[in-house]
């Protein structure tokens, strides 16, 4: 590429934002992970430069911090003011609201960041058994509701603290972002479900004890069970979890106390011992899933007084790191990569239960990334199975079913729905159905069927494609059902998709989804009334065959994805063919 600063009007770099007056220079923008060469006008302002950078690095402008020669470049400055010339390098730091050194979360490092090490940000504590997952990075409000969300965010519930390797990273990321965004935290905390759960020490205890790892630990260390049984302590912990600021304070104090402890002769050794004896098994437990345990346990056993924090001196193992041995009975919940679970809040001193309030409420509400969740679920059918069989999952679902108020509240608080009144309305109406669905073993078994999940996902994708490519099509699809998709089972009477609202395809799509959900529910509940896709799309398949698409499998997939729309299916097929 042109490597001289002379003006190059024929500049084939079409990323240049402003038509330059003056010469174009090539400046290297470097992050600790990445490097890009950006062409910009010599006399451009820092703001313009950032625009370009934000495009190239796919980050928001206000997340960018530019450094040149030891100085931070302010928006109002110009590049020439700082002496930035052709061929020079500017350092970039992308703040993902939490991390410096690049937007990418160092998922590898993960855990440690959640420890005391992580700056400020209240670290709500480890992922309690209930974690429903934390909201992922600021849930993008534009996310179209995923089918799964229809299941009362069942997927989110999957966040119940189970993790498998794939989700770890996502969880980590979410945790971090969650932690860096105190607002989100307070949102979560305000969630009535979360509060309910947290104010019920019995429930918490139950959840914690349900973890076989914990049970093991408890056998080894009776003190842990003491701690669990100490309502005072539990309550205190929950208070803490509720109050991020307080938690932070306590953490700080603890850290200091600990460092003092360390200076006592022999103190360091004692700490070390505690760590190895207690913390390790705990962390392996945490690794398996819901972490809960916490150093405070140690400290409790140690000091006997009030939970002092046993600060661990070494980087805590990554609770969400690739599980050394996946724990089948628990991994289920973990999945919710996106949706879920919160981040591992590593047990910190002040948070004995490693409660991560984020995970508590939010998993349920987190839709973004549902897609990846689905993917992962389909990759790992075991997960769903496990998740669904998790005892507390059941009980939660039951309680949700019994308490439609609560469920609706829960759903309403879902940030995804927050901005969308219509959707809320619809979901509210759908609620009883969803709740039923959840109880419905058929539905559950579908969820455990990876292919079904895959199909669902494809449908979702297809819908999205449809929406973008044929916005006009959606409304026409609405009433009366979608061509090709059987209205197997009675469509529940409240069919919100009555008239395609001109409010936009978004609404239309949502309605479509509702319909589909209902059909699904009907299909699932009705048991036998679902026809296989093959049967449904028989005529379309024949047509495709006649046109020369002989790969029946692919045809079927495409048809399923597009809901029976031949043209769209053909496009899909063509698009996916190797060229």
């Amino acid at each position: 590429m042109a490597d001289q600063g002379a003006a190059d009007p024929g500049n084939n770099n079409n990323n240049k934002p402003e038509a330059s007056e003056g010469t174009i220079i090539k400046v290297t923008v470097k992050t600790p992970k990445d490097k890009e060469e950006i062409a910009i006008a010599e006399d451009a302002s820092v703001t313009q430069f950032k625009e370009e950078i934000s495009r190239r690095f796919k980050a928001k402008q206000d997340q960018l911090v530019l450094i040149f020669a030891g100085k931070i470049l302010k928006d109002g400055d110009s590049l020439s003011q700082h002496g930035i010339k052709d061929g020079l390098t500017v350092h970039l730091v992308i703040k993902t609201a939490h991390k410096a050194a690049d937007g990418g979360s160092t998922s590898a490092s993960s855990s440690t960041s959640t420890q005391a090490g992580s700056t400020s940000t209240s670290n709500p504590g480890t992922n309690p058994s209930t974690t429903t997952g934390s909201t992922g990075s600021a849930p993008p409000p534009t996310q179209t509701p995923n089918i799964l969300t229809g299941f009362g965010d069942l997927g989110g519930l999957a966040g119940l603290g189970m993790g498998s390797a794939n989700f770890m990273e996502l969880q980590q990321q979410m945790q971090r972002q969650l932690m860096s965004n105190p607002e989100m935290l307070s949102q979560i905390m305000e969630n009535p479900l979360v509060q309910n759960m947290m104010s019920n020490p019995d429930l918490m205890r139950q959840m914690i004890m349900a973890n076989p790892q914990m049970q093991q630990l408890m056998e080894r260390n009776p003190e842990i069970s003491h701690m669990l049984n100490n309502p005072e302590l539990m309550r205190q912990t929950m208070e803490l979890a509720r109050n991020p600021a307080m938690m932070q304070e306590m953490m700080r104090n603890q850290d200091r106390a600990l460092s003092n402890l360390e200076s006592i002769p022999g103190g360091y050794n004692a700490l070390r011992r505690m760590y190895t004896d207690i913390q390790e098994p705990m962390f392996s437990a945490a690794r398996e899933q819901v972490s809960v345990r916490n150093t405070s346990l140690h400290s409790y056993s140690e000091s006997g007084a009030q939970p002092s924090r046993t600060e661990n001196r070494e980087p805590l193992p990554n609770p969400w790191g690739p599980p050394t041995s996946s724990n089948p009975s628990e991994s289920g919940g973990g999945s919710t990569g996106s949706s879920s679970t919160t981040a591992g809040t590593t047990p910190s001193v002040s948070n004995p239960l490693g409660i991560n309030p984020g995970s508590l409420g939010n998993g349920m509400f987190n839709s973004p990334g549902m897609q990846s969740l689905l993917q992962q679920i389909s990759e790992n059918p075991q997960l769903m199975q496990n998740m669904l069989s998790a005892p507390y999952m059941r009980s939660m679902m039951q309680s949700l079913a019994q308490n439609p108020e609560l469920a609706s509240q829960v759903l309403m608080n879902n940030p995804l729905f927050a901005g969308n009144q219509q959707l809320q309305e619809q979901f509210r109406a759908q609620l009883p159905i969803f709740l039923q669905q959840m109880q419905n073993p058929e539905a559950l078994s579908v969820m455990t069927n990876p292919r079904a999940m895959q199909a669902l996902m494809q449908i979702q994708q297809g819908l999205q494609t449809l929406q973008t490519e044929a916005p006009g099509l959606m409304p026409s699809l609405m009433p009366g059902g979608i061509p090709g998709i059987p209205t197997g089972g009675a469509m529940p009477t409240e069919n919100p998709a009555s008239s395609p609202s001109s409010a936009g395809t978004n609404i239309a799509q949502q309605q479509l989804m509702h319909q589909m959900l209902q059909m699904f529910a009907g299909g699932g509940g009705g048991g036998g009334s679902t026809q296989t896709p093959e049967v449904r799309f028989q005529s379309q398949l024949d047509q495709l065959n006649a046109m020369g698409f002989i790969n029946r499998e692919a045809n079927l997939q495409a048809l399923i994805a597009t809901g029976g729309d031949i043209n769209a299916a053909i496009e899909r097929l063509l698009g996916s063919q190797p060229s």
């Binding site: 600790p32 030891g70 860096s180 600060e311």
Partner: protein, 144 residues
């Protein structure tokens, strides 16, 4: 074999370091440059350190002032944090870096550079004794 060490004149050295700073050599976690581009004596420099991940310094950008005296590089530069930081060897009230506590400043060699100093400080941020120190709120600076 004795390797004869050529004693590079101060200004040559500093110009080299200036160029290196502008070209962004290194891993992008530290940056340095002249505080004032017109400074012909090449004495006052600003530096920047990006707080390392997995420490309490993470996600922060620390600004420093480095002063290369007339005897640089035979003598170590004086370094001072502008952004508030809590770290061993850094004066809490004015951010000056105690040359006796930072190993490379204490045992300075004339082959060391500003970059090395910044990188060393960053490395110290990752040490066990520093990484967990509670830090002041982000964005505060020392008043001097």
């Amino acid at each position: 074999l004795a390797i004869s060490r050529v004693k590079v004149p101060r200004n040559f050295r500093l110009l080299e370091e200036l160029e290196e700073g502008q070209k962004g050599e290194g891993d992008g976690t530290v940056s340095w440059g002249l505080e004032d581009d017109e400074d012909m004596t090449l004495t006052r420099w600003t530096g920047m350190i990006i707080g390392p991940a997995r420490t309490n310094y993470e996600n922060r950008i620390y600004s420093l002032k480095v002063e290369c005296g007339p005897r640089y590089p035979e003598t170590a530069p004086t370094v001072r944090f502008v952004t508030k930081i809590s770290m061993n060897g850094i004066n809490n009230s004015n951010g000056t870096v105690d040359s006796r506590s930072i190993p490379i400043l204490a045992k300075w060699q004339n082959s060391y550079t500003i970059k090395i100093v910044l990188q060393e400080l960053r490395r110290l941020m990752m040490s066990k004794e520093n990484m967990k120190l509670p830090q002041p709120p982000e964005g505060q600076t020392y008043s001097t």
